[in-house]
């Protein structure tokens, strides 16, 4: 019996829209359902997995880095990749190569790979469903 596979296409950069958080919640729920997931990160979404993201302190509220405990999307993506491994579910996260080069974000968390729009074509052809989450 063939496995169920979902492909998500993300476009938004991190820390700007609820869409990024919702997308990661969908990925998390799919993995926990035993559904294989492909993610094609396009345009600003290639920064979601940028490895040099850093949490910061909050001077206004007098909290240091540790107390602020600021979440980063790269940490969430690394956690999703770990969850997929733990559950023997496939999570294939591909960042659009030209979009990476444009933005200089060529250092992603382990498990995220560089690709091209042809990967999206392959993803869509091999998936049960494809959901495009557009910018606005």
């Amino acid at each position: 019996m063939s496995r169920t596979v979902l492909t998500l296409v993300l476009n938004d950069p991190p820390y700007e829209s609820a869409r990024s958080t919702t997308a990661l919640r969908i990925v998390d729920a799919a993995i926990r359902r035993g559904v294989d997931v492909n993610v094609f990160a396009y345009e600003g979404a290639v920064s979601l997995s940028f490895a040099r993201q850093a949490p910061h302190a909050n001077a206004v509220h007098g909290r240091d880095v540790q107390a602020e405990d600021h979440p980063t999307t790269k940490t969430w993506i690394a956690a999703l990749l770990a969850l997929a491994r733990e559950r023997a579910v496939k999570l294939d996260w591909v960042n659009c190569g030209p979009c990476i080069d444009e933005r200089g974000v060529d250092d992603s968390v382990l498990g995220v790979r560089r690709g091209s729009p042809s990967d999206l074509w392959s993803f869509a052809n091999g998936s049960t469903n494809t959901l495009v989450i557009p910018t606005r």
């Binding site: 869409r19 919702t22 559904v35």
Partner: protein, 108 residues
């Protein structure tokens, strides 16, 4: 009967284009297609009683299923007692299940 899934993520009071998802749902239902709307993010504002009925009640009457993301409802302080009658809170796993059935899905 394609079984469309329309994901409404925008505040319907933002303007006309954010209401198009409801117009599309109504058109599909009129064409006897099975339609599910999943409200998330600011889209759950349409689920508020004493306001959201204008968008959702005609669709519910036409047989459209309307689910609302409890995470988004809670973020916006919308209690289940203050929701449009007929809207069903459903965790995001419900959306995943609909997508996993291969239903055509559109994000608004």
């Amino acid at each position: 009967m394609a079984g469309y899934v329309l994901i409404a993520a925008r505040d319907p009071w933002e303007g006309g284009d954010s209401q198009q998802v409801f117009e599309l749902a109504g058109s599909l239902a009129a064409a006897r297609d099975e339609v599910t709307i999943y409200l998330t993010e600011n889209g759950v504002l349409a689920a508020r009683a004493d306001g959201g009925e204008r968008f959702l009640t005609p669709l519910l009457a036409a047989g459209v299923s309307v689910f609302a993301d409890p995470f988004a409802l809670e973020e916006r302080g919308i209690s289940r007692e203050r929701m449009v009658t007929g809207v069903v809170p459903a965790a995001i796993e419900r959306l995943v299940d609909l997508l996993a059935q291969g239903r055509p899905a559109l994000w608004y």
